[in-house]
């Protein structure tokens, strides 16, 4: 087996056992990036020199038997909307071209403390607004399983890199499914933590009340490991919970015997692809075989989720993106007369179409006279959606459903139909609106050979249980071992 096909936990064992040197691993990794990424296009920037320096340092530590961190020597890719000190962070937007943050995001600090190696910054839909990574101002990332297809989005660069074995792990971010949906489409594991589980400090905000950073990995155990590192209280984020972080690997093999699995009727209706339905049904059978009890549940307000999401997320985005004005950093238009023209032209030229569309929608929803009808109403419906989950979680341990209604679609297929594109996130958005955690794991392939994701949702701060349920399935199947031909 080639070195780069191993999981992070496997490679860590080899590094610690001095079977391989981190610097050799990094060398091999960049060689593969140079070979494969011209096709996949997952990276916006590589961090090669710093990665080699870090690798040498870790090799030195290990050679000297100095204690190393939990992620010692593990190469990690970072979605390019997470601030990295000294490395350009662009949000795949022209408006932040060459923007170099003066500080590290909380999660980056944690990765460095645990001796992870940051190998590069990955592509995304501009400002994480999209479900296909086609909205990037720099490049279109391709699905490693079929280069004519999208990887999903907005964390498509991160999930494609992990699927292509050019990153052992990655960080993504979610506002409405941006980790789980591309994880499903690329055949990797992606987890969105409970809102408040991971600090947002340093994540360039899209929808502040929805955003979460989460892990992307090759399997459930690696996901658990990465979550253990990035979760926890941060004094720089007031919305981050002061709740202890368990070792998510501990007890992960506890199985699902006696667990009650809820299947929401609303998630199996019109628009669900037959291949996806078949794969999810098969997965449910496996859970039944493993001793879980499958029960039908209802989340009656599901149909409003997408509408509520696009009001809340865009309203917050319109405000969060106001700071990109050309005054202090980022792109500034040339030859402008006066401050108003500078604002107007810098933003018109700096932002892409989808971002501009959402800023306009958001500003509209917050305008005086419309606030009550849109933002306030949406906030109320959002509470009803949350209540739906509160109710069902009184009776069940988890919800199992598809992650995405369809497998990866072709590049260009949906770009001119924003509404259809927005529906890609129909099964993932409710978790963001209600703050609950969710994970997507590989559960099969479509007839065309494209990966299909299974989604597991639990109540807030039950990531440990969620990972245990995910692992029970993974242990029984080998979908996660599949590799794309590149």
């Amino acid at each position: 087996m080639k070195l780069l096909s191993f999981t992070a936990l496997q490679i860590r064992r080899k590094i610690l056992a001095r079977e391989i040197r981190t610097s050799d691993l990094i060398k091999e990794l960049y060689e593969r990036i140079n070979k494969v990424d011209p096709d996949v296009q997952s990276f916006l920037a590589l961090n090669e020199k710093a990665a080699f320096d870090a690798a040498k340092e870790i090799d030195q530590k290990i050679a000297n038997s100095v204690k190393v961190g939990l992620l010692a020597g593990i190469p990690i890719a970072i979605k390019d909307n997470i601030c990295t000190e000294g490395i350009a962070t662009t949000c795949a937007s022209k408006i932040l071209r060459n923007f170099i943050p003066p500080y590290d995001a909380f999660v980056i600090k944690r990765l460095k403390e645990e001796d992870a190696i940051i190998i590069g910054k990955t592509n995304l839909d501009e400002f994480a607004m999209g479900s296909s990574t086609e909205n990037s101002s720099y490049k279109i990332t391709r699905n490693p399983y079929n280069l004519n297809c999208v990887p999903g989005g907005s964390s498509g660069g991160s999930t494609a890199a992990v699927a292509a074995d050019i990153a052992f792990m990655a960080l993504g971010s979610e506002t409405g499914g941006s980790i789980r949906q591309p994880a499903a489409l690329c055949g990797v594991v992606g987890l969105k933590p409970t809102y408040g589980r991971v600090s947002r400090y340093g994540l360039i905000a899209f929808g502040s009340s929805l955003d979460q950073i989460g892990p992307v990995a090759k399997d459930v155990c690696d996901t658990a490991l990465l979550l253990s590192v990035i979760a926890g209280k941060d004094k720089h984020d007031s919305t981050c919970a002061d709740i202890g972080v368990p070792d998510y690997l501990k007890g992960i093999d506890g199985g699902v015997k006696g667990f009650r699995v809820g299947v929401p009727v609303e998630y199996f209706g019109k628009g669900l692809d037959d291949d996806v339905r078949t794969a999810v049904d098969k997965a449910l059978k496996i859970y039944e075989k493993l001793g879980a009890k499958i029960v039908e549940v209802s989340l009656p307000h599901t149909e409003y989720a997408v509408a509520v999401y696009y009001i809340v997320a865009n309203a917050e985005a319109s405000s969060n993106l106001a700071r990109f004005d050309g005054v202090r950093y980022g792109f500034r238009s040339n030859d402008v007369k006066g401050i108003d023209e500078m604002y107007c032209r810098s933003r018109s030229e700096g932002f892409g179409n989808e971002v501009k569309r959402r800023i306009m929608l958001g500003n509209y929803a917050l305008s005086s006279g419309y606030y009550d009808a849109y933002y306030l109403k949406a906030s109320k419906v959002r509470n009803l959606i949350k209540k739906d989950f509160d109710e069902v979680f009184k009776k069940i341990d988890c919800i199992i459903c598809p992650t995405s209604p369809v497998p990866a679609f072709e590049i260009g297929e949906r770009v001119n139909n924003p509404l259809e594109m927005y529906l890609s996130d129909i099964y993932t958005i409710p978790a963001n609106l209600s703050g609950i955690p969710g994970i997507s794991i590989p559960c099969g392939f479509s007839k065309k050979g494209l990966p299909i994701g299974l989604q597991i949702l639990t109540n807030c701060f039950e990531e440990a249980k969620m990972l245990q349920i995910a692992y029970a399935f993974e242990r029984e199947t080998d979908f996660h071992l599949a590799k794309p031909k590149l």
Binding site: C91, Y201, L203, S208, A322, R328, L366
Partner: protein, 478 residues
Amino acid sequence: MDYEVVIGLETHAELSTITKLFCGCSTKFGAEPNTQVCPVCLGMPGVLPVVNKKAFEYALKAAIALNCTINRYTNFDRKSYYYPDLPKNYQISQNYYNLGIDGYMTIEVNNVIKKIRMHNVHLEEEAGKLIHPENAGADYSLVDFNRAGVPLLEIVSCPDMRNATEVESYMHALKKILLYTGISDCKMQEGSLRFEASISLRKIGEEKLGNRVEMKNLNSMKSVLKAIEYETSRQSELLDRGEKIERETRLWDEIRERSVRMRSKEEAQDYRYFPEPDLLPFVIDEKWICSIQETIPELPLERKQRFVETFQLSDYDAGLLIEDKILADFFEECLKEVNLPKVFCNWIINDLLREVKEKKLDITSLKIKPDQLASLVIMIDKGTISNTIAKEVFSEMIDTGKEPKAIVEEKKLVQISDEGQISEILDKVIASNPNAIEDYKKGKKNALAFLMGQVMKESKGKANPKVVNELLKSKLEG
């Protein structure tokens, strides 16, 4: 025609916290531009605000001191507008659940007490400062973000004031409350206290309010009053001519002493307020409110009334004492040593304030201590030193902070009351001033004063005037 002027005031006060409202940067005034900044107050991508508890506490303190109802459930909102001094292009402020609502403050105008209602008191962040280059034709402006993020308290009064005198009284009274509670240094020249006025006119007897004009750029209390006078006559002239007053925002032009239109109601900004998602709503603990309540000192107006009633001070004198909390505290500390309110009041409002003014002293760091002034007063009372000497000693106490006793001993200033000693001096003076003796015998009364002066001079001011007076008379008559 006669109109009634209706005035409301919006006050912005920077709170005296050591650090900014949402980050750890210093709030110290006057530093080099952009040296007190960090990613948070510069609005860098990805940063988040964390509330400064002290600032929140100060705002609560103000709301309680202004008799507001405290919104137990409160949060912050984003107020959106584009301006280069506003790093995020939204200001974190409060709109939907203000910290304090429905309060009031009492003011005193011509011995009449009047209640001015408070619409709301809320907390927000300060903006930065634009610096426009002096050379004409420069095609750029600079921004200093040192002030950006300093905690700012906004106090919005109801339109309860009817003339400039009431407004003046309101501004002074509010400033005193902020100083008494110690939540702002209220330095108008540094911009830590600012006012905006809304002014409207209506026919006397009419209930309905006229269209109001909001007046900005008022840099001092004086300009507030001038602007009100100007606006009153501008609006009444318009109304007299049968024209309508437009609802608008106007800027006060300090140099030309007139107001100019900034924007009309139609051009008014839509601030698109919505709850700040980066900060969770607060539920304020009743216990916290109580503990803050306990830290609020007696407020100026109540204190003045107590001084008048308890110490029989005149309204004017008591007013001077409470003008500054430090003075009033000094006064009460003196009384703890010896209960001579009128004596201490005179020392403070005459001598102390004169020395402070002449020597340009900072009242917050006086060297003289209340118990020292009390010792001085006791020494006068006992006849150890004369009043004249006491003034000299007092001046030295102000300069050095030394005990009066030490100064008196050091300079040998103890009063001479011994008749034998005084008699010797008198004989000397009488002998060398035969003309004055002549004048006295002719009945010229001021000759006595002249001789007294000579005696005091000869004794270097130490002779006890009472004894001198008696002895001198008996010597001259006898």
